[in-house]
Amino acid sequence: MAVFDLSPDRRTFLKVSAVGGGLMIFAPQLSGAKPAEAEGDGQIGLYVKINSDNSVIIGSPGSEIGQGTQTSLPMLVAEELDVDFAAVETELMPFLTGAGENGRPQQLAFTSGAGGSDAIWGSYDGARQAGAAARHLILRAAARRFDVPVAALSTEKGTVRHAASGRSLTYGELAADAARESLPEGELPLKERRDHTIIGKPQKHKDVRAIVTGEPRFGIDQDYPGALHAVIARSPYLDGRVRNVDDSAARAMPGVRHIVAIARPGPGENPALNNLAAGVAVVADSLWIAMKARDALRIDWAPGPVREDSRAEYAKAYEALKGRGQVVHEDGAFDRALDQAAQVVEAQYEVPLVSHSPLEPQNCIADIRGDCVTIIAPTQSPGRAARLVAEIAGVDPLSVEVRVVRCGGGFGRRLYQDPVVEAALISKAIGKPVKLQWSREDDMAHDFYRPGGIHHMIAGLDGNGRVTAWAHRLASHSRIFREADAAEGFWRSELVPDDFPGQLIPNYRMEYFYLPSAAPRGFWRAPISTSNAFAVQSFVDEVAAASGQDPLGLRLALLGDQMRDIRYDNHGGPNWNPGRMANVVKKAAAEAGWGENLPGGKGRGLAFHFTFGTYVAQIADVTVQSNGSFKVERVVAAADCGIPVNPNGIRAQMEGGVNDALSTALGQEITIRDGQVEQANFDTYDMMRIDRSVANVDMHIVESGGPVRGMGEPPVPPLAPAVTNALFNATGKRIRKLPIRDQLRS
């Protein structure tokens, strides 16, 4: 296991090392906003390595789940280092144990794995400092060689030049010397935004060649010496148990080595494992034998305590909404304002549980033999994986090596470590390394679903069509589950009082009702926002229609066109700026031709949402056939994510986010019946294919001078309401329930 000496140079926060005749610089864990699920114990943020052959390798942290940070983070370094970005190689940094301050071993985690669209945000300054530091050292080494002052030198794409004498040296030729130079105290000066040549210029993603040639980069592609193959038969019932198992047929199959029971932790028992399903693991010489042997198990499953039926639970929630819930936020006096309103508008919206379904089913390699513990996993959260595995193995977390590999999609699912825990439990039980593979059915039935809910919206308007009162009453599954004492706080994962139109309407109330479910729930790409944006942005449209206002005009009136920071007490805060949003909305409207008359059967709808510091507006154009089938023809999008580090990546995220969100809105729904998840695979869970996708995503980047923010999640929330608003515009029929499916046909 590699152990680096990471005690940082005391005068700077960077660590300089000579590695194999080259120069290596480690930057510490980069500061910046962290999501709630962030890991705080990391030390290395990234590294840059300049080899004597002039190659430049940038190792960047965390998990590549398709959001492009393996390209955008290295761009930040390369900008200040002044190298040809096309020639830079990038690598996923391993999750290592290293010597920390005073030479003590320390866990080296990275920013946050991947969660909260934070990778770029948290790294913007630190990554550029690392690049500037490397360049500084190279320049000092060159100054010594040429015996001239640093000021007489310039750099250009990996070469140092001395203009007066015409001499030049490559970075590679200087790298070994540079490792002996030292850095000045404090931070180095960085380029002005206008001088950037890499940041803000579209760069292609780094790993595409490996992907299109089928290189084995993903978790599922990894092998491990001596590893047996494991699959698990898990309880089909939520919270179910194994009553009895007959494994005689499975054991009799040649190549089957072990059968291992996995217990469901009881209530209150080790909350870190609270999602684990009861099951029976089959361990065999090959994956195929393991799969066949699993089919040969005869298991009598005991259902969980509740034979949940999600339709019945929703029906109860509709009833509950008639009464009074937990008022979690109130500005002004909502009841009085509603009494005095000249017009009242009301609507209810329903959203389902949805599954993550990353295309790569969960998998993990675990080797727990004695004190030496190795995990290879496509995870969004290596730090948590290391801690949990250390607990299971009964070893010091510092001796756990987690190798993070490329993830075939994440969307939040790989923040959860249940596959890692299962693999670790099996390896520990049999004393051998094991590779655990989930099937699609396993993945869909044992997910952390996005909470579903019912949103009851009420607005009061005065005689001039001004909105004076607004209530958002939500009955939902909380993302918080199996934590008995969390009841009062269930709403916190579900409602954001500072979201639009909070603070923009004088009398404003949020009220919460808990909708129980035994299904595990979790972070799903743009958590909270996907559901709430659908309710809020649909309802603004309904209010506009009911009061005879233009949907764009009402939105702009609510936002105001003043640039001003108002509170945002959640991830992406501490402020947001309604004026910046208004600019983004206006940009999208202008590009889309808002206000034009559309021919029959066509409709146009608008929605916007602020998530994680990024402002996004989308305008969807739809064509509806007389039989009610429809197609989204175009989405015009505008986004202000501060400094647009990689416009190509930003466009890719918008195109993908729009289509992922459309896929979800069109057909995706997880339902529970008799205590079991009803959907099993892509034949019963409707993921969109190219035929229903939007081919035309017309993306406009608005750069307003704000700080750099992420784009992994923000494109998702506005899409569903933009589409349903467009469908209303085309047909006069309002879709208040997701997924849309064939509601226009009925």
Binding site: G214, F218, I220, D221, S286, G657
Partner: protein, 154 residues
């Protein structure tokens, strides 16, 4: 004994004939480019060419392959030169997580044999692979670009 060719090399197989080709490729032949996404012929991540036809390897038992020629993503490039579809994928910078893309490329490569000048409609009707990351905008563009490359190169 089942005998078939994968990317030009002959394999003799005397194991469980029910095993899907997907697992033979990934586990026995150590060709990991072909991916597992669903196991029921829904997602297309496991698409390979069998005798020139795009097929979902998760749903083809090895036992049915006697005498067949199988091409996987690893065998799509010829003499080190990437297939035009692979080049188009690079030029359009298609992948996000990348997991579906080998299957998408294999599906597109065969599709373009049958539709050398495809319309959007042809693509909608014939390309049925799933992409959770939603890269369909670029997949479509890359298919059109690959068609141009193939035409230009005859």
């Amino acid at each position: 004994m089942i005998s078939f060719a994968v990317n030009g090399s002959t394999h003799n197989f005397d194991g469980d004939e029910d095993m899907p080709l997907l697992w033979f490729l990934r586990e026995d032949a150590q060709l990991k480019g072909t991916k597992f996404g669903c196991g029921i012929a829904q997602c297309g991540a496991c698409t390979v060419h069998v005798d020139g036809e795009a097929m979902r390897s998760c749903s083809i038992p090895v036992g049915s392959l006697n005498g067949a020629r199988v091409t996987t993503i690893e065998g799509l490039a010829e003499n080190g030169a990437l297939h035009p579809v692979q080049r188009a994928w690079l030029e359009e910078d298609v992948p996000q997580c990348g997991y579906c893309q080998a299957g998408q490329i294999m599906a597109a490569a065969e599709f373009l044999q049958n539709y050398p000048e495809p319309t959007d409609h042809d693509i909608d009707d014939n390309i049925t692979n799933l992409c959770r990351c939603g890269t369909y905008v670029r997949i479509r563009r890359a298919i059109h670009r690959a068609a141009q490359l193939m035409k230009a190169e005859g």
